[in-house]
């Protein structure tokens, strides 16, 4: 409630004084933060000559859709073609993660035994391990399982890495759901698994949304695991690996760099604009509580 009062109450005295420092700070944000986004946007529609001679200008009579069309129809390292593959990874991992993390979180949250509680610590230990360090030994395990350079291997590895934070966030949320609800369901004859999926899970919506947003953004932007676990021989590219492979071939051709980068960020920016409120609260909760 304090947050509400802190915000809603008008502060006349503050408003009257124009804070010059604040105005300068905010004015600086426009070129510093907006500039790169502007450069990315306008240069995706210009010729190489125009990009280099006037990167900030908009030569209205010479703007062209050709670079963007070329990027969309490019036979090699096509970013748009990689949307589907990346989205498939995101969706499959999200489903596996929720399907596995949900029931596990329920068991942990509802357990009264110390042994089960230790499970939480076991999972939490996973948040300490940086992906850059993890992915190298993971390759040997995947190789033993015959899953290296495959979609299945990448998806299983990604799912494993999302489990710790997801379980942690869900345990915290389940703890706020009264146990009487479980009791009522069990008296009605529902088993534990069924109680979880039909009664408890629908109540976890906010936690599940947070988990899905955290995971989806992380997976869409992930570069290390697809780069290392898929490898060039798999011939499958996510948005990031397609950009990486493409740009290392055509660094100097800016009419390829800008349209491809624009296509790579477009889905995330659209998602961000639509879901801004959820994303911001999801990521802050994920960071402070995860």
């Amino acid at each position: 409630m304090t947050a509400e009062t802190a915000v809603r109450m008008p502060r006349r005295r503050r408003r009257e004084r124009v804070n010059v420092g604040r105005v300068i700070m905010l004015a600086l944000l426009v070129p510093l933060m907006g500039g790169p986004a502007y450069i990315l946007l306008v240069n995706a529609f210009k010729t190489q000559q125009d990009i280099q001679s006037q990167p900030f200008g908009i030569p209205f009579d010479r703007l062209t859709l050709q670079p963007l069309i070329d990027a969309i129809t490019s036979p090699e390292y096509n970013v748009v073609a990689s949307y589907g593959f990346t989205a498939a990874i995101v969706v499959v991992v999200d489903v596996i993660c929720i399907a596995l993390a949900g029931p596990a979180a329920y068991v942990i949250a509802r357990s009264t035994s110390r042994k089960t509680r230790l499970l939480m610590l076991y999972f939490l230990a996973g948040t300490f391990i940086p992906g850059a360090a993890m992915v190298i030994p993971a390759i040997y395990v995947l190789r033993t399982l015959g899953l290296v350079n495959s979609f299945a291997g990448l998806v299983l590895y990604d799912s494993a890495t999302t489990l710790p934070v997801s379980i942690f966030l869900m345990v915290g949320y389940i703890a706020t759901v009264p146990r009487d609800i479980d009791q009522a369901a069990s008296i009605d004859g529902a088993g534990r698994l069924r109680t979880f999926w039909t009664i408890i899970f629908p109540l976890l919506r906010p936690a599940v949304v947070t988990v899905l947003i955290l995971n989806s953004i992380g997976l869409w932007n992930d570069f290390v695991s697809p780069q290392i676990l898929l490898g060039p021989s798999s011939d499958q590219y996510t948005v990031t690996t397609a950009i990486y492979t493409g740009i290392s071939q055509y660094t100097t051709d800016l009419t390829k760099v800008f349209p491809n980068l624009l296509l790579a960020v477009a889905p995330v920016i659209v998602f961000f604009l639509y879901m801004q409120r959820h994303i911001i609260s999801g990521l802050t909760v994920g960071a402070t509580k995860g």
Binding site: M25, V30, I129, P137, I167, I243, F272
Partner: protein, 320 residues
């Protein structure tokens, strides 16, 4: 917790009858409960163990060997670990990483705090500015790096902007020290907005009465921020700081796309050396020792987070 347990005990007690049959039934039921719990948590435990825990074990094992990927591995004790600190390539990358971690997190927190204080009140303009600071956080660091590479290049946008003033072309990415500074600047640019949002959320829980009381007492805005507001959000700042530290310790994607570790290795971070150099080489034992060392440092920092967070939680409980 305590209350919930009492509820369960209450619910069970009417059903508890004396007699062996009831005891056996109860034991059966408990056994079944354990089996169901195991079945529910099992898949998660299995997947996590197979692809997160086992690899750590594999890495630790390999880090004590001289395995090259083909021939038989031989134990060489801690030789790989001592090599970590004598191999100039690796030690240099450690220094680069330390500089990135220190300056990157200091500026990410500093700017985060400054802009959070400026944008803390709820209004439409403020939320637009917040989104403006924040948007890079949802974009892949790899892509941000490529974008800045195009901006900071010798023929890039920034040099075009400086040229009319007779400056440059400046080798933002091609002079050793400047390249590291550019890398840190881009990292700060990409990351401080996340702290803005984090801190704004914390600032909005600071009671207004406190600030008004101080205003009536004639405190200046700076005094209020310095002595009342910032101490009250200190726990969140601590968390943000250590998240920054851990995040920057792993800097890899942005190095790949912005500088490729160059010029002359001046921006090769520790994670970059592991993945771009050691990983492709035949020194697999050594690569794993490098990875294990990163895990240890990362875990040490993460434990620090947990310890500090627990301490601040306890302090908060004490107040409540």
């Amino acid at each position: 917790m305590g209350l919930a347990n009492a509820v369960i005990a209450d619910a069970r007690s009417p059903r508890t009858r004396s007699g062996e049959g009831a005891a056996a039934r109860k034991r059966n039921r408990r056994l079944k409960d354990t089996a169901v719990s195991l079945g529910m948590a099992g898949p998660a435990v299995l997947l996590y163990s197979a692809l997160m825990v086992v690899p750590v074990g594999v890495a630790i094992y390999l880090s004590f060997t001289d395995w090259d990927g083909f021939s038989d591995a031989a134990f060489i004790g801690i030789q790989n670990y001592t090599h970590l600190f004598t191999d100039p390539n690796t030690t240099h990358s450690m220094w680069v990483t330390v500089l990135i971690v220190i300056f990157g997190s200091a500026f990410q927190i500093g700017f985060g705090l400054m802009y959070a204080l400026a944008l803390r009140q709820k209004s439409r303009t403020n939320s637009v500015f917040r989104a403006l600071t924040y948007y890079p956080h949802v974009i892949s660091a790899l892509i941000l790096g490529f974008l800045w590479n195009a901006i900071l290049g010798t023929k890039g946008a920034l040099n075009t902007l400086l040229a009319p003033f007779g400056i440059g072309p400046v080798g933002f990415l091609f002079e050793q020290n400047l390249a590291l500074i550019s890398l840190i600047a881009v990292i700060v640019w990409a990351g401080f907005g996340f702290n803005v949002v984090l801190f704004v959320a914390a600032l909005q829980t600071v009671p207004l009465e406190l600030i008004e009381a101080a205003e009536i007492d004639g405190a200046s805005r700076w005094q209020i921020n310095r002595n009342i507001v910032i101490p009250m959000i200190a726990p969140v700042v601590t968390v943000a700081l250590i998240l920054s530290l851990i995040g920057l310790l792993r800097a890899y994607d942005i190095v790949v796309s912005l500088t490729g570790g160059g010029p002359a290795g001046s921006t090769s971070t520790y994670a970059y050396v592991i993945l771009a150099q050691s990983f492709g080489s035949t020194k697999i034992g050594y690569a794993n020792a490098q990875a294990v060392f990163l895990m240890i440092v990362s875990a040490a920092l993460a434990l620090l987070v947990t310890a500090l967070r627990n301490r601040s939680d306890k302090a908060a409980e004490g107040e409540g």
